[in-house]
Symmetry: C2
Subunit: 156 residues, 2 copies
DNA sequence: TATTACGTACAGAATAAACTGTACGTAAAA
DNA sequence: TTTTACGTACAGTTTATTCTGTACGTAATA
């Protein structure tokens, strides 16, 4: 197996992993390519490597920047923008993925808890039995969120 | 707030959570609706509730069945297929999501480890320095997979 | 200051995903 | 056996996403 083939295989495999975290295929390939590269790259270089337009590079790099997976780099005498992948993989993905998920879970748990309270306030106005099963399902949902929250918090 | 509005709110919130696990919006709404319902439902009933065609229900229910989130139920004298949501939320999602992810991570870790070995075998044939940075990135990737694997295993 | 080169906004084209309605095989009911 | 009702395969349509090329504002160079 030649070096190029190795690189291609690594690109494919690692991109697959990264897609698991909600990146689009191109974002994933791009990030992987930057991560493997030992130097910061320009939009044009990436475009050639990915076989995509410069515009596509621009928008995809912006996504990666927003997720803090990529950093813009300055180098003396170079006019073009240069980008490199953040090297601390675990830390980066913790921040953009797991923390974000934990937050979202908490937020939704709170929304459901709020619903539960609101329902209990109005309880007297309605046949109690109609709500038996219903509120029990709501409680299951809240429990579920709580357990997810615990688990995501443990990931950090 | 009326009961119907409560139900709608819960549907919306819980569906959002479930979409986080890679279900499409319709799959998520459908699952939530089944979970809230106290009885098993037919394709027609779901179609009306979701405002979608029966065909759409059929394909989406099949997805949920494949993920073991939903069970087909038999009831005496009822000709139509009946479906209900599996009630143990955490268990269901562990099985279809976290376990599956852990497996995928392991698989990709192994692919990368295999690459690393293959590269080391051919090492002598190539300038050693060219590979310095490159293999170090590969090692980071493998470490990353290992840490993810540990974390996902801890979730169970 | 004038010119060149850069990144990106934007409109439209290509591609992919979701959804519908018809049509058909199959099993229950008559 | 004949008829009816069910779920789904499939083709085509609608909707959403991704991608490209042009055009423009802006900043570096001369």
């Amino acid at each position: 197996m030649k070096e190029v083939e190795h690189t291609q295989q690594i690109m494919i495999q690692f991109s697959k992993t990264i897609e698991m975290f909600g990146l689009t295929p191109l974002e994933a390939r791009l990030y992987t390519y930057l991560f493997l590269s030992d130097k910061a790259l320009t939009l044009d270089e990436m475009g050639i490597a990915m076989g995509k337009s410069k515009t596509a590079m621009s928008t995809n790099i912006r996504s990666l920047l927003d997720l803090n997976l990529v950093t813009r780099v300055w180098r003396k005498g170079v006019r073009k923008d240069l980008y490199e992948a953040n090297s601390q993989l675990l830390k980066s993905f913790m921040n953009f993925y797991f923390k974000k998920r934990a937050d979202q879970i908490i937020q939704q748990k709170e929304a459901l808890e709020h619903m539960k309270e609101s329902i209990e306030e109005n309880k007297t106005a309605i046949e109690a039995d109609d709500f038996g099963k219903f509120t029990s399902q709501l409680e299951s949902m809240i429990d579920f969120h709580q357990e997810l929250e615990n688990r995501y918090k443990n990931m950090g």
